[in-house]
Symmetry: C2
Subunit: 238 residues, 2 copies
């Protein structure tokens, strides 16, 4: 069983001080939503995020407005054979300390706008769907609280500042421990907080250049499957 935690993910609602910016108002109109119900997205709110605000230090928005990263990561995770075999559990921790728990049987929309619609619904109702067993649910929770609850046998954070090691060797080390958790950053062009790194037993880097979070996710899951012998099992003729 592998636990995947996308940590400090760039997912949040458009903060109040940006509600009156023209790019936010225009996007709200297109989506027929109140600005406060929108998910912050650099693709649509870039100019609002560039405007300087007295309360924001320079570069304060660097880690914000990239919900697409979680989208791509979840498509990698939920469609994998590891997940279909019930051997993967996926969580998305957000930059504002919320945790989205995803049922392994959830099938996400392949369309980005629809995925954003689901995030908007999660912020409104804390679960999706609302009328039956939730496939996605969200609650206030720090990364520390999540890991304390999950109590993995080892926790490995993947980041460019980590110790260089191939994914194959990283996975072999993780798997030796039984119930490992992997932490991957759900943001772009930035680094984990110190408080996140402190939660990891090991901090590793699987390439000398920065790789997209969804690429690290796909490779981690695939190597984990290989170590479990899944590819051979699933391609054996019955």
């Amino acid at each position: 069983m592998l636990t995947l935690v996308l940590a400090e993910s760039s997912i949040e609602r458009v903060p109040k001080r940006l509600h009156r910016h023209p790019s936010v108002i225009a996007h709200a109109r297109r989506r027929r939503k109140n600005p406060g119900l929108l998910i912050l997205d650099r693709s649509y709110h870039h100019s609002a995020m560039r405007t300087s605000h007295d309360e924001d230090p320079p570069g304060a928005w660097g880690k914000h407005g990239r919900p697409d990263i979680a989208f791509h990561v979840l498509l990698q995770a939920l469609g994998s054979p590891l997940n279909r075999e019930g051997l993967l559990k996926t969580y998305v921790h957000t930059i504002e300390d919320r945790v989205i728990e995803i049922d392994p049987s959830a099938r996400l929309p392949r369309n980005y706008d629809r995925f954003i619609g689901i995030l908007e619904e999660l912020y409104e109702n804390q679960q999706v769907p609302t009328d039956q067993r939730p496939l996605l649910s969200m609650r206030k929770c720090t990364l520390r609280e999540l890991l304390e609850r999950l109590n993995p046998s080892t926790t490995v954070a993947f980041t460019t500042t980590g110790k260089l090691i191939s994914m194959r060797n990283a996975c072999a080390q993780m798997m030796g421990s039984g119930r490992p958790a992997a932490i991957i950053g759900g943001f772009a062009h930035s680094h984990f907080k110190q408080s996140t790194l402190k939660l990891a037993d090991q901090v590793l880097s699987v390439d000398r250049e920065a790789l997209d979070a969804w690429m690290v996710t796909g490779r981690l899951i695939y190597e984990y499957e290989c170590l479990l012998g899944l590819p051979d099992k699933r391609t054996r003729i019955p």
Copy 2:
């Protein structure tokens, strides 16, 4: 060197007989484009595609309107270490026999709407950007013509109807031949045309269940990297 061809991809403009459907008109208005300039997308034009047309047999739209597949596949391919090392060449062949050639140095937008904007531009100007060396270019070309021009040492098509084999073994076989090409389907819930299968030396399946095209792509590229020793090379401390 690995050549990746996403074949029969669900990319095309909205066909003329759907231009007057309310869902197409509404979407055209939102994008401020003429309906004829839009890329067909099941997420937005679903009801137009469901409407029966005298000229369409039942299920005729099954393979259409999924440009998101190419988006996810290209994000996997272009960001990979294999591509960064100049060892991957990527082509997108469309269901209407156009071929999009992608410069390995192209960096695609991470936002789906912007990717669609690039496709729209490609249909209008045949290349992006128009004022300098193109990073993406499009021309009329069948899959057969493309493969004749590329002249790979072996061509392997990946599809659920193929011979079951693990990706590791499939890659080892392909690599033995020097300059292999891999064909992956750029559509959902459907199969390659017979004319496509005939172009392949081998037809393989890497899982007993259907995997998303981007997952097959990611695994293929990663295994190819492993066989080349790239992960070790790229995680060695200099």
